[in-house]
Amino acid sequence: MSVEAGRTPGQTHRTAYDEDTHARLTADAAQIVARYPQERSALLPMLHLVQSEDGYVSPRGIAFCAATLGISTAEVSAVATFYTQYKRHPNGEYTVGVCTNTLCAIMGGDAIWEHLSDELGIGHDETTDDGAITLERIECNAACDYAPVVMVNWEFFDNQTPESADELVGKLRAGEPVAPTRGADSVCSFKQMSRVLAGFPDGRADEGVGAGGPTVRGTVLARENGWEAPAFPGDEPAAGATTTEAGAGDGAHTPKVGDEQSSAERPAATAADSSAAQQENKQASDEAKES
């Protein structure tokens, strides 16, 4: 049964999936629907599933989602066109996204974008003739401490330069594997990525690092200086921990707010620095206002 509800009820969509594909997608969709109390919630992951099959949100994929969830193709299209990760035409094997939001742009993202756009001869949301790369200008991807950032199929390539990005796309076009700075051991294809985003694990969660240098900068600095958060009451200080610095030691000796070496040890410059008694009434009234 490969018939999907097209725009006209009762008509067969002319590019519907063959029977085997349809059966496979139907089984996947059932798993997705089962994750939610209401089936409509399955639509976003199902659109990722469609992209894992067709490489974009295809007309037949829209029809499949509509038929599965009992909504109209117009409702599915309305959702598909709202989100930037859903592609309206066939995507390349790799989405190469250059962050050109303010911080990355200023740190060099604009230069990387200009270079890649020139080298590949394509602009935003365009695909190379060999189908390897779809180039995008992307917004902030939460890796600002690694600026400038490039994402390939939404894996992190940190601290990029025009030269490193050039080498990266060269490998992608040559079909050579590339490894993100923080991510799996190699970048998977757009379709494989889409299947993971539909909620089907690919068994690669344990690959790669837990963090890069900037992520653990504070962790390492604190350890070097013997800085610790106050110990939990009843806990002994960690073996080997430095106990001469502020914040170390057992609870009884941990600085209290307002005491010497506490975070509040500075001149009372603002309302927040005044005493608890002064603040109590104000706090109660402010919190009431915030609601």
């Binding site: 991510g183 993971v196 909620g199």
Partner: protein, 444 residues
């Protein structure tokens, strides 16, 4: 220095295979859950209320109070939805947290769900972070295998399912009601409030929506107690928080410190400004918070002090720009972002961000008119407070604050392109020859 770092969430991020349940448990993980399950649920809520924990996603609303707004149980479902849609420009704390230590979040989800009487929790993570999504799915699998998720958790009789849901690219879904619509399979557009999610949230049921870092802070509070948490921070901004330094600093990265630390202290820890250059402007909490300048280096980074100085603590996303940077270029790019991400639901934001971008683009090209600054401020005045949600308000913040501190740069935009005043290659981390400069100069 007066304030030092206080690693709680970050304490073991550099451990071998830090993301695994084994590593998390080896470092004291899931003690909080065991303790919570031996408490009455309302007592857990009270403990978090007493800790003073405030929402770490930007708004700073007291977390325990938010939980307390749920109506009395009526026998129907109630939900916890974690906002892991971190997309605010400059904000880069939740994504590395979930990459390095997802169990912190999962334990927080279980404790919070128990506290509020929820049996199906959702983590809505943005779709543009593939490996983080993998790590979260795996973390839930591991927690389930260990008996922390599923039925009769640790023999307590308490049941919980966790669904990790990937978004598909839309900044607006970080707004809590837009997130709920998106999770329901709709376009991610904000809802009219009231009703607030606590009354009618996911599937119109009572729902708590909390930020990743807020929820991840809960296990520590349950283990250490409210007074332990309050040893850090200030009177009204208690506890530890992730401060994310990015931009023109020597050592950008994540620095977990008590709230109330200053940028001067953080900059010293981060090795100072790149190449010893002068600080020009910075955001205290992402692009939606009014910018600060060097005169604000000693403002305590807590909710009250940053507010009193004219901005917002936001997400503690400290984007730092030195003297080589054009504030007009920075603000124009942020505005283009808000224009791109405006959901289109309300007129002030949908139309206003387009107008703002057009005016700013001609100022950046050096083709502004003498009336353009007033036009910008008038547009901002017509968006701020008149938009449906905080996205519109946020779009005005960088503009009005930049005009306040650097008006002369906008005035220069009536005759000189920004990239002539501030050659972009001087701001970048590497040398290059900008293409746009030649084109703009020719067009002028």
């Amino acid at each position: 220095m007066a304030t030092t770092l206080a690693p709680v969430l970050t304490a073991h991020w550099d451990a071998d295979r830090s993301w695994t349940l084994q590593t998390y448990e080896d470092n004291g993980g899931y003690r909080g859950l065991r303790r919570a399950l031996n408490m009455q649920a309302p007592d857990v809520v009270t403990m978090v209320k007493d800790s003073g924990l405030r929402g770490r996603g930007g708004a700073g609303f007291p977390t325990g109070m938010k939980w307390g707004f749920l109506p009395a149980p009526d026998g129907g479902p109630r939900y916890l939805v974690v906002n892991a849609d971190e997309s605010e420009p400059g904000t880069c704390k939740d994504i590395p947290l979930m990459m390095a230590s997802p169990q912190h979040l999962i334990e927080g989800v279980i404790i919070t769900s128990y506290a509020i009487g929820c049996h199906h929790a959702f983590i809505y993570v943005r779709g543009e972070v593939l490996h983080v999504y993998r790590r979260l799915l795996r973390a839930v699998e591991e927690a389930r295998a260990a008996g922390y998720v599923g039925t009769d958790i640790l023999g307590s009789g308490y049941d919980l399912e966790i669904t990790v849901h990937a978004g598909a690219g839309a900044y607006i879904c970080g707004e809590e009601t837009a997130l709920l619509d998106s999770l329901e399979g709709l376009r991610g557009q904000p809802r009219l409030k009231p009703p607030f999610p606590a009354v009618a949230g996911l599937y119109a049921r009572p729902t708590v929506v909390n930020n990743v870092e807020s929820i991840a802070s809960v296990p520590g509070i349950v283990v250490g107690g409210a007074d332990w948490f309050k040893q850090m921070g200030t009177e009204r901004s208690t506890g530890h928080g992730l401060f994310s330094l990015s931009g023109h600093v020597t050592n950008p990265g994540q620095y977990e410190a008590p709230l109330g630390i200053t940028l001067r202290e953080l900059l010293e820890m981060a090795g100072g400004m790149r190449g010893g250059r002068a600080l020009k402007f910075w955001t205290p909490g992402g692009s939606s918070t009014p910018i600060f300048t060097a005169e604000h280096l000693d403002v305590p980074l807590d909710y009250e002090s940053v507010g009193a100085a004219g901005s917002m603590l936001g997400t503690r996303a400290l984007q730092i720009f030195d003297e080589t940077t054009s504030v007009v270029r920075a603000v124009t790019r942020w505005t283009e972002f808000y224009k791109h991400e405006s959901c289109g639901k309300c007129t002030p934001c949908r139309e206003g961000t387009f107008w703002l971008a057009q005016v700013l683009q001609r100022i950046e090209r050096g083709q502004g008119t003498s009336a353009d600054i007033d036009l910008l401020l008038d547009l901002c005045d017509n968006i701020l407070g008149r938009a449906f949600c905080a996205l519109g308000d946020g779009a005005t913040s960088p503009i009005t604050s930049a005009v306040q501190y650097f008006r002369e740069e906008f005035e220069a935009g009536t005759h000189t392109p920004a990239d002539v005043l501030f050659p972009p290659e001087r701001s970048a981390l590497f040398d290059y020859r900008p293409r746009s400069g030649a084109q703009l100069a020719g067009a002028h």
